[in-house]
């Protein structure tokens, strides 16, 4: 029973990672860049939900929608101001800029909200589910998180494969130049990708802070990095890969916390990354991208 309970916690945490990993993987697939600041957009999302819900007393769902709106705008601003001028620049430059943006968001948050942690009120108002005569308790947060993750995944897959804009995204990720020639608005598509990724980050922020109710300017960075690990794990650029990688990583982290060591769980998660890269550099569902000579 204990094990199943850990497993469910793991899947729940993994679902958050999966939602964040989607943002990484979509941006990587389309803009071929590692958006280091993605984790910090989660943090901004968390603070926004906090402000709307706790400070302004709005209902949880309205707060999340508003936070999504703010993060979407933030994502678009970051893309336009910091990343777009560097399109075509060496990847090292783009990467350093992304780190700069990540740092900027963290330190702005530090100046605005200070370094004292805010205790977050859960956005989920749901009784825990008690199974097996009360031996197995599944929190409302876990149920909602897993549910949201499934909805997001299905919705996103449908969007990408069934809509015009989604197919434009696929086209840009395959070949930017060709997509442009076929009349796809490349800049618009990249912006849309950032918008979707950032909106999802807000959702992830709300869910993350509901399960782990401590909100700090650095709240997003570790989950962000781990979600990136999840994206690499599953195969960067692949949407189902992000889901698979996220959930596996969540399970690994939770189980190693439970059975090995709390202190070493992060080390274990990162070791998984190194091992994956050693054994299968393209991740579980990724495909090889080779340079044209």
């Amino acid at each position: 029973m204990q094990f199943i309970s850990y497993l469910i916690n793991g899947i729940s945490l993994g679902s958050v990672y999966a939602i964040i990993a989607l943002g990484y993987t979509m941006v990587y697939g389309i803009a071929k860049m590692l958006n280091f600041a993605h984790g910090d957009v989660i943090m901004v999302g968390g603070y926004m939900v906090f402000i709307f819900m706790v400070n302004l007393g709005l209902p949880a769902i309205v707060s999340i929608v508003l936070a999504m709106a703010v993060c979407t705008v933030l994502g678009i601003v970051i893309e336009t101001v910091a990343y777009r001028p560097l399109r075509g620049a060496p990847s090292l430059a783009v990467l350093i800029t992304a780190i700069g943006v990540s740092y900027l968001l963290q330190n702005l948050a530090l100046l605005i909200w200070g370094s004292t942690p805010k205790s977050f009120t859960s956005v989920v108002n749901m009784e825990p589910l008690r199974l097996a005569g009360g031996q197995l308790v599944i929190t409302g947060e876990s149920i909602v998180t897993i549910g949201v993750c499934i909805v997001v995944m299905v919705g996103l897959s449908l969007f990408i494969n069934r809509t015009r804009m989604g197919r434009a995204m696929l086209a840009v990720s395959e070949d930017k130049g060709a997509a442009q020639l076929m009349g796809v608005n490349v800049n618009g598509t990249i912006m849309l990708t950032f918008a979707i990724g950032s909106a999802l980050a807000a959702v992830a922020g709300a869910l993350l802070c509901s399960s782990y109710p401590m909100l700090l300017p650095t709240t997003g960075s570790m989950p962000g990095i781990k979600a990136f690990v999840a994206a690499v794990f599953g195969g960067i650029g692949s949407v189902p890969g992000a889901m698979l990688g996220g959930i596996l990583l969540g399970i690994i982290e939770t189980l190693s916390k439970a059975y090995i060591s709390t202190q070493l769980s992060d080390a274990i998660v990162f070791s998984v990354l190194i091992i994956v890269l050693l054994v299968k550099p393209t991740g579980i569902l990724g495909k090889k991208i080779s340079e044209k000579v």
Partner: protein, 358 residues
């Protein structure tokens, strides 16, 4: 013409050495005459450590063209290996300089070996993987060192991941690493003179390496991997040389740093420190060794002197990173600068970050 060209590079390098010597003479003069604030005096050795760290990171970022976000991790490995040696040998080797030199060698070898270990899986890969794996490595090192307990008594070394009591030491046993509290009682063997000497040694190694067959091989990989392979450069070998040397020098910086304070904790060498060193490199100019040296020294001293500024320091760093990158690397800006400074542009540096793209 041959001598003239060699002369030009040597002159450039000579200026770099001279700046280091001059800074040392001025600061040492201030120390000897007592014209130095306590705060600055306390920062002298750490400044040297940061300079070494920045110069060595530039070897990876500017010369090899790969982004490492775990440089602090290599410093940490060096610091712990060196300090562990000094603490356990404090009574055995009483000659301070000998003990410190041995500590330096051990720290450099440990960090360099770690560089090889990390490099083997990662350097085969292309793209942004090195950045993320070095970041992961930094976190692993920090977490593991935070959890390690190590002690010694007449029965030998004792190791635990739980606490000091679990070590089961005898009465005259000594705890060497105390988990999150790290190493306590490191002999303060490093001095400003040592720091200066190590800065000079680092400059000597790195500058000589860059202007050599090896350095050119490394830079050719940075500029165009496929072309480098096509002229017979062994990519993995030269990536490995640059990366592990960079790690080893970071280890030296770590040893130097560790021996200027009596206590050493792993959490000091976190992601933030790695980023801070990266800021030195970017600000000093990617690929410019002299720039890294100056940026590391100035950016360590300035915030200490301008206390009111320290709150905004990280914010300013972040903005500077973004602005520098867009100004230096954006294709439009590059074109604009080429137009405006046509003819005057020597091209140094602005191509340094170029990777083997199509």
């Amino acid at each position: 013409m041959g001598l003239k060209n060699l002369g030009r590079t040597s002159r450039k390098n000579l200026v770099t050495y001279l700046i280091a010597v001059l800074a040392f003479v001025i600061l040492e003069g201030m120390v000897l005459t007592g014209n130095i604030s306590n705060m600055l005096e306390g920062q002298l050795v750490p400044i040297c450590a940061y300079v070494i760290a920045a110069v060595s990171l530039n070897l990876t970022v500017g010369i090899l063209g790969e982004l490492s976000l775990g440089h602090a991790g290599f410093m940490s490995v060096g610091a712990f290996a060196g300090a562990l040696f000094s603490v356990s040998m404090e009574d055995t080797i009483t000659v301070t300089w000998l003990r410190f030199v041995l500590a330096l060698i051990i720290g450099a070898v440990a960090a360099g070996a770690m560089g090889v270990l990390i490099g083997i899986p990662v350097l085969r890969l292309q793209g942004d993987y090195l950045a993320i794996v070095t970041l992961a490595f930094g976190e692993i090192i920090k977490n593991v060192l935070n959890a390690v307990y190590l002690g010694v008594d007449e029965n030998g070394l004792h190791f635990s991941m739980k606490d000091s009591i679990a070590l089961g030491l005898s009465e005259n046993g000594k705890v060497l690493i105390k988990g999150a509290q790290g190493i306590v009682g490191t002999p303060r063997d490093s001095t400003f003179i040592w720091g200066f000497a190590l800065v000079m040694l680092t400059l000597f190694i790195v500058l000589n390496l860059i202007k050599s067959r090896t350095g050119r091989a490394v830079m050719s990989i940075r500029d165009n991997r496929i072309a480098a392979e096509s002229v017979g450069i062994n990519i993995t070998k030269y990536k490995m040389i640059a990366f592990s040397l960079s790690a080893a020098l970071a280890g030296v910086a770590g040893v130097l740093y560790a021996h200027s304070f009596s206590s050493l904790v792993a959490s000091k060498f976190d992601y933030n420190l790695s980023i801070q060193i990266l800021v030195f490199v970017v600000l000093g100019g990617i690929g410019s060794i002299r720039g890294s040296m100056i940026a590391a020294a100035v950016l360590t001293v300035l915030p200490e002197m301008l206390r009111s500024f320290s709150e905004y320091r990280m914010l300013v760093y972040a903005i500077v990173l973004i602005v520098m990158m867009i100004f230096n690397q954006s294709p439009k800006m590059v074109e604009w600068r080429k137009r405006v400074f046509a003819g005057r542009l020597k091209g140094a540096g602005h191509n340094a970050a170029k990777k083997g793209g199509a």
